[in-house]
């Protein structure tokens, strides 16, 4: 779900009421909200944490639902979820010692029938913070200022990090 999709969902599907009910301790609402949020969290955590994506998504959702009462504006749900999911995905990926890029000789050749697998393999050659900025800028379509705020870095750092991540992805993709 892109940012725009999320906003449309919030506007049309009674999401604020669902969030308020979950905040009030209605577990039926929590379960329903989990159905809504889990796919989005999975799409954010998958490209960053890769093989540990399910663990990262689970950890992110535990944080989200433990802290759901802290969300003041239910309409801001997906932006709030995104911050937590990205943070947890990077943390889990780093913990799994995937921060060191693998041997570049191991990158598989590109092939259309294996496109999804190739994307996964190429992402696996990048550091978690590079995967995170690619997800935020290229998958979520966020602007530089928003991304730098989310990652707690300056816009200059975000810009150079994105440049290096894209260049790295391109190099690996074209090998």
């Amino acid at each position: 779900m892109s940012l725009i999709d999320a906003a449309e969902h919030a506007a049309t599907a009674g999401l604020p009421d669902l969030v308020r009910a979950a905040q009030a301790g209605d577990s039926m609402a929590m379960a329903e909200l989990l159905d809504v949020v889990a796919p989005y969290v999975g799409r954010l955590c998958g490209p960053i944490a890769l093989d540990d994506g399910a663990d990262a998504a689970q950890e992110a959702l535990i944080t989200i639902f433990t802290q759901i009462r802290q969300l003041r504006d239910p309409a801001a749900l997906f932006g709030w979820v995104r911050v937590i999911a990205i943070r947890e995905a990077v943390r889990v990926a780093r913990k799994a010692r995937r921060a060191t890029p693998a041997d570049l000789q191991d990158v598989p050749a590109r092939g259309d029938p294996q496109l999804a697998a190739d994307v996964r393999d190429v992402l696996g050659r990048l550091a978690p913070h590079h995967r995170a900025i690619l997800v935020l800028r290229d998958l979520e379509g966020l602007d530089e200022q928003t991304v730098s705020d989310m990652l707690a870095v300056s816009t200059g750092t975000a810009k150079s990090r994105l440049h290096r991540a894209r260049r790295r992805f391109k190099e690996e993709w074209e090998r």
Binding site: S27, A31, V41, A54, L61, I62, F65, A116, D138
Partner: protein
């Protein structure tokens, strides 16, 4: 190319772990059953039969169909206590909530067959002494060992 980016799937048991971690007053028990998930779910999703088998103090259970994946379950205890549960149930996932009690079940494939989770809990902290049904649910009050027996019997009957 974005549709080819890897996606992390949160299976029903992981969802149940999220609910257990996020809701105070709940406990989650897990076990592995030597049977396919479909067979396990055929047994546990028959709430009228299986809930009194599993939950120690549920004497009888009645189920009223609802819309879609929702239904209503009425449980009655041996001392005449009653609880009305709103239920969401679909393959591999079940969540139930009454005024004071919570119950959840999830089943996912496992190399040894099925990994099954059962969550029991109390909705409102501090009401333990006030409501007669509160001690009736939770892993300590559930006979999960019966589930393996019931599933194997179900498989033999097929």
């Amino acid at each position: 190319m974005n549709q080819n980016w890897p996606v992390a799937d949160l299976d029903p048991l992981r969802r149940l772990r999220v609910m257990a971690a996020a809701i105070p007053g709940t406990d989650l028990a897990e076990l592995t059953i030597d049977a396919p998930p479909e067979a396990v779910w055929q047994v546990v999703s028959n709430l009228r039969v299986e809930m009194p088998r599993l939950v120690r103090d549920f004497r009888t259970v009645t189920v009223t169909p609802g819309s879609g994946d929702r239904l209503v379950m009425h449980a009655r205890g041996y001392l005449g206590q009653r609880a009305r549960f709103d239920v969401v149930i679909r393959p591999g996932w079940c969540w139930m909530q009454s005024r004071f009690l919570l119950c959840g079940m999830a089943a996912v494939p496992d190399p040894s067959g099925t990994r099954f989770g059962f969550l029991g809990g109390i909705r409102a902290p501090g009401v333990t002494l006030l409501h007669p049904l509160l001690h009736l649910i939770g892993p300590a009050a559930v006979r999960l060992d019966r589930l393996e027996t019931d599933v194997q019997q179900h498989l033999r009957q097929q």
